[in-house]
């Protein structure tokens, strides 16, 4: 099995090199046989990487500790599911996962486009195989998962217990699917640039890919946040850690891209810009993979130590140069079909949206790589701390939030004063009312008030859009209101799916602002039978108990939760001591409600005195609900069309809107 894995891995390298060269040649010579051959190489590369991965899974599941990777990330005692996920527990395995998924995506793209996009395909396949070549080179020569040990250990080290939970089973693959999905729009964009077929066909072909990778990125980031919240025990879900930023940056650019392509498809503007965005999204997803796996930023002076670093830098630099060359070369053909008319137009609001997303991304990037840059420039490693990220992103995020509400209300081309009055009156009133409600429940500081009002405003615009659309539809076809809403959304999935996503975004903002500004955090040291108060809760410490199972010893603190003098619940905060690893693991007790989470951490014990860290985190659950809605909205947009001519439907709705504005 070890040899099989090694041979297959090398075979994948050869196939991807072949596919890259022959694909480019096929495009250049406009030769169908050569193109077909490259496409077949892509299919074969997928097959052979499946075989490679199966070998590694087999080695993990059968505890073959002669393999270095298995010895490092698995143990014989681990449950089978974690042996399975140990596949992506370390560097070489996760790079293999990258290669596997990329080849799978390429395979699907080849099959889907067997008879379509003939101009784009040879170059797109060539680019995809080029990316695959990079990863297979790393896997074969620098970090081979099939390397063996000279001395065979009896047991492996095992996966870090922190990573042994459901979130870590799905979080890395979800994020990877997102990262890798970005490669497809990139490859087709390159196909468009290299073949000179610069219309929107590359965008239309990869629309589903952009969406699905966005959905996976969103989902993956959320899972990472949930994992941090439940496992790390510091009461928060986001710390602007380089690894978190690494997943956030491609998300920001992908989101900008999803918005800008709409302008290109509808108005023929921002054509060059899309190429730049897709390049950035791709580069950031590679960069994200790199900093997650290498720890280059989190550790001091480790850049030189990571043997993969220079390869990633060279790969990023060369793909960037290559793409920029093609963009410049094609720039005479990439002129906008129309010019921007006014600030007060929907086009301009999309453009502003893109600037804001990219600005946040730039600030996050700057903050993330600042230690490296400052070390290069001044010799001193200087980092920026959490307040930097918060202070920079907060005003930009507020502007984006408001824009989310403004954009759909504003007309294409140039909005009139009438358009403004008509559309903004109710939402603005709703925002004001939300602000007043917030004051009434005791919010006194300015920033949260502004954010909450903005949330109310945006939510009202979304509701208003559905209402307006459904009413307009009812005049054409008399149905019930809810049926009208359903039909309307299904008829223009992109538009209304987008609104669903925006509604989720509003909830996320709501939760983030509430939980950042109104979190209560206290520590208590108590004896058995003592009680303490936090927020509206009174907690009674009932006692400490200990139990053990084959995996670990567990110390449990039991607490009664009282509210208004009555017992409402009982919570258990634990510490786990895994036999395998010396470090204890805190198992936080979270009592989630829609209003707030009661978050209890067992901090330690000493001679009968037990200390707890207790948090009351308001509205945190709304973040997860909001992200759930965003993901559902994304999936809704991707629903297959029951009636094919989506183009004329969207035009019909636009006309409806135009009438609306004119009226």
């Amino acid at each position: 099995m070890i040899e099989l894995g090694q041979y297959c891995l090398f075979g994948a390298l050869l196939l991807s090199a072949y596919g890259m060269v022959i694909g480019a040649l096929g495009g250049w010579r406009k030769s169908l046989p050569l193109t077909r051959s490259a496409e077949n190489a892509a299919i074969a590369a997928f097959g052979i990487l499946v075989a490679t991965s199966v070998s590694l899974w087999y080695l993990l599941l059968t505890d073959q500790f002669v393999v270095e990777y298995v010895a490092q990330y698995s143990t014989s005692k681990m449950p089978a599911v974690y042996k399975f996920t140990a596949f992506w527990g370390g560097q070489s395995g996760s790079l293999l996962l990258w290669a596997l998924v990329l080849s799978f995506f390429s395979f699907i793209a080849v099959v889907q486009n067997r008879h379509r996009n003939r101009e784009l395909m040879p170059y797109a396949v060539s680019v995809l195989m080029g990316i695959l070549l990079f990863f297979t080179v790393l896997l074969n020569f620098l970090t081979n998962p099939f390397n063996t040990l000279t001395q065979v250990p009896v047991d492996g080290q095992g996966l870090n217990p922190l990573l042994q939970n459901a979130y870590m089973v799905i979080h890395p693959p979800a994020l990877y699917l997102g990262y890798i999905g970005v490669s497809l729009p990139f490859a087709f964009a390159m196909g468009a640039l290299m073949s000179g077929k610069l219309d929107t066909s590359w965008i239309r072909t990869t629309r589903q890919w952009s969406l699905i990778s966005w959905v996976f990125l969103t989902f993956g980031i959320a899972l990472g946040g949930m994992w941090a919240y439940e496992e790390l025990g510091w009461g928060g879900y986001w710390a602007w850690d380089p690894v978190e930023n690494a997943s956030f940056m491609p998300w920001l650019v992908s989101t900008a891209f999803l918005h800008s392509v709409m302008i290109t498809e509808k108005k023929g503007m921002l054509r060059t810009w899309n190429f730049i965005l897709v390049l950035l999204a791709f580069q950031l997803s590679i960069f994200g993979t790199f900093i997650t796996r290498s720890g280059v930023i989190s550790s001091v002076h480790s850049f030189a130590l990571s043997n993969l670093g220079p390869f990633f830098v060279v790969f990023l630099a060369s793909t960037a140069l290559f793409t920029v060359f093609w963009i410049v070369y094609r720039s005479p053909q990439l002129k906008s079909e129309q010019r921007m008319k006014s600030f007060l137009s929907r086009e301009a609001s999309f453009l502003l949206n893109n600037w804001l997303f990219l600005s946040i991304c730039f600030a996050v990037f700057w903050g993330t790589v600042f230690p490296i840059l400052s070390e290069w420039v001044t010799g001193e490693k200087i980092t920026v701390s959490v307040p930097f990220f918060n202070n920079v992103s907060m005003p930009l995020a507020l502007a984006l939030l408001i824009l989310t509400g403004v954009c759909p209300l504003i007309a294409w081309r140039k909005a009139s004063a009438k358009n403004f009055r008509r559309n903004f009156l109710y939402p603005l009133a709703a925002g004001l009312v939300t602000g007043l409600i917030a004051v009434a429940v005791g919010v006194r500081s300015l920033i949260p008030l502004v954010f909450f009002s903005a949330c109310g405003f945006v939510m009202a615009t979304i509701v208003f859009e559905f209402y307006k659309g459904a009413r307009a539809r009812q005049t054409i076809r008399p149905t019930g209101f809810l049926t009208a809403v359903k039909d309307l959304s299904l008829m223009n999935k992109r538009r209304y799916g987008g609104f669903i996503i925006h509604a989720g975004v509003v909830l996320v903002f709501f939760g983030i602002i509430a939980s950042s500004f109104f979190r209560i955090e206290e520590e208590f040291s108590v004896r058995q039978g003592d009680f303490f108060k936090i927020g509206d809760y009174t907690l009674v410490f009932k006692g400490l108990s200990e139990r053990s199972d084959p995996e670990k010893n567990v110390v449990t603190a039991k607490l009664d939760v009282l509210k208004n003098g009555a017992k409402i619940d009982e919570v258990l905060a634990e510490k786990h001591f895994h036999h395998k690893s010396e470090q204890p693991m805190t198992e936080v007790s979270i009592r989630p409600t829609l209003k707030e989470d009661l978050y209890v951490v067992l901090a330690g014990w000493d001679k009968g005195v037990v200390s707890f860290h207790v948090f009351v985190n308001p509205l945190v659950q709304w973040i997860w609900i909001g992200i759930g809605i965003m993901v559902l909205g994304g999936l809704f947009v991707m629903l297959p069309n029951s009636k094919p001519p989506a183009a004329h439907v969207s035009r019909a709705v636009d006309e409806e809107e135009a009438k609306d504005v004119a009226a």
Binding site: Q72, G89, P153, V154, L163, F343, F362, N391, S525, S611
Partner: protein, 145 residues
């Protein structure tokens, strides 16, 4: 000239962002030092934000009972220099003797100790180990339980 308008607007926005970033950086800049670098320039650093990395010196962890306050020494492997650290707050599970830690806070020159606001202890396999945890360190038969 519609284009000029957009250029002006763009410049304003970029200006605002650059301002936000630079003011943000100056407020939250944290110097990343090793223990000996910190001790070498200790007098200039009084009150400035500093992040220090090193290892927890064995036998120096002292927890104040009844609180979450912990005192310990951070030492550097290359030299034997070490610095006392006081920290109050959530102690990560990964914090233990010899663990690699990063503390962020300020150096108090008058008391000759480091007051930490955050304490990060590196969890060994969340990120890739950098050579010090070579697979040959995997316990062999004689050491296995």
């Amino acid at each position: 000239m519609p284009h000029a308008k957009f250029i002006v607007a763009g410049t304003l926005i970029i200006g605002a962002i650059v301002y936000l970033m630079f003011s943000g950086i100056n407020d939250s800049m944290v110097y990343y030092y090793s223990v000996s670098e910190l001790l070498a320039s200790a007098d200039d650093l009084n009150g400035k934000g500093v992040r220090v990395s090193g290892y927890v010196a064995p036998g120096t962890i002292h927890r104040t009972p009844g609180t979450s306050e912990v005192e310990f020494f951070v030492f550097e492997k290359q030299s034997d220099r070490r610095v006392p650290v006081v920290y109050r707050g959530i102690i990560p599970d990964t914090f233990k003797e010899n663990a690699e830690v990063v503390v962020e806070g300020t150096y108090q020159a008058d008391q000759r100790r480091f007051q930490a606001n955050t304490l990060l202890a590196k969890c060994p396999s969340k990120y890739e180990s950098q050579g010090d945890q070579h697979p040959d360190d995997v316990p062999l038969q004689k050491e296995a339980k």
